[in-house]
Symmetry: C2
């Protein structure tokens, strides 16, 4: 998506450790009009998939996923990271490794809100190693529902998470795939 | 807001410890069309306040705040809770007590994204003791910007957080104020 790539080049910063900082428009201060443009792209990709639910994981994916859910006309369900005691029994869980926090994190969803007939579009703002997405897919599968697509704003192609999912036959669409990132030089994967 | 109150009565559950569970439409599975209706209410309240930024804190307020920001035509800025190392220097901080997690939590915002000329609408899905909102207001004041209003979906009136802010002259608008909650009987404050 050209608009997103231009914003990344113009406003993104590359920090040591392959961190691409886009906190001026995506995951701290959020340009919601850009989110709306992205949501329309995803609707174009997934409109014929019979999506019944958009899923993401707290926190930074929620803004994008909410706008995508509205665009698709379906509810949003966001997985929680284990810590609160406001969620009682009937949980579906998946353990992932968080490279951001450098520890294991358990993703939780109330079984009540996900049914075997759901056709889920998983959405997130970022994908690197793909652990969060893997956890969400695992949760959907546990209840017997289906992941009909994965929509990502920015994929770090060089970390391989997206390609590992594609190899498993999952329909992953990323609006910008970064192949390499050095200060002043960000290279995107060519769109197919 | 009648629509929200009806949803609380119909779908909310009262749990021990004054916990009102609305995770079927507000803070786990999210009915984004309801969020849009709420956002329009807030636009009605705050349209003439010259709002330049909507602020919230991760995680469950983000969906509502994103839709409100879009409705107001301004960016969203969400405070982070201290834990990630993806935010480097230049931080504005406020320490709050989280009754959910029963510990102190530091709210963080990059100073870069908030300027003294900002006129901020603070938005959250829930307010009980009002600690999160107090922390956000403190952050806005630290940079010399102004909080022109606070928009809350559900306020637990009996926990006093909203009234303490109103006594300080802050323009707090809650779409549903719960005065008492027992299983099967939720009483709302009369609208002024």
């Amino acid at each position: 998506m050209q608009e997103l790539k231009e914003r990344i080049v113009k406003e993104g910063k590359v920090l040591p450790g392959n961190i691409i900082k886009v906190d001026g428009f995506l995951n701290h201060r959020v340009d919601v009009s850009l989110l709306r443009s992205m949501a329309r792209e995803f609707r174009g990709y997934f409109a014929d998939k019979g999506v019944t639910m958009v899923m993401t994981v707290e926190a930074s994916g929620i803004a994008l996923a909410a706008i995508v859910a509205e665009e698709m006309g379906v509810p949003l369900l966001f997985a929680k990271k284990a810590k609160s005691d406001n969620i009682e029994g009937g949980l579906v869980k998946s353990e992932i490794y968080s490279y951001t926090y450098k520890k294991k994190v358990t993703l939780l969803v109330s079984a009540e809100w996900l049914s075997p007939s759901d056709r889920v579009l998983v959405v997130d703002d970022f994908m690197a190693n793909g652990e969060a997405i893997r956890g969400l897919i695992e949760i959907v599968k546990q209840v017997g529902a289906e992941v009909v697509g994965v929509g990502i704003a920015i994929e770090k192609g060089y970390q391989g998470g997206g390609d590992r999912l594609r190899e498993k036959g999952i329909n992953v669409r990323s609006l910008a795939i970064i192949e390499s990132a050095e200060p002043g030089k960000i290279v995107f994967r060519e769109e197919q």
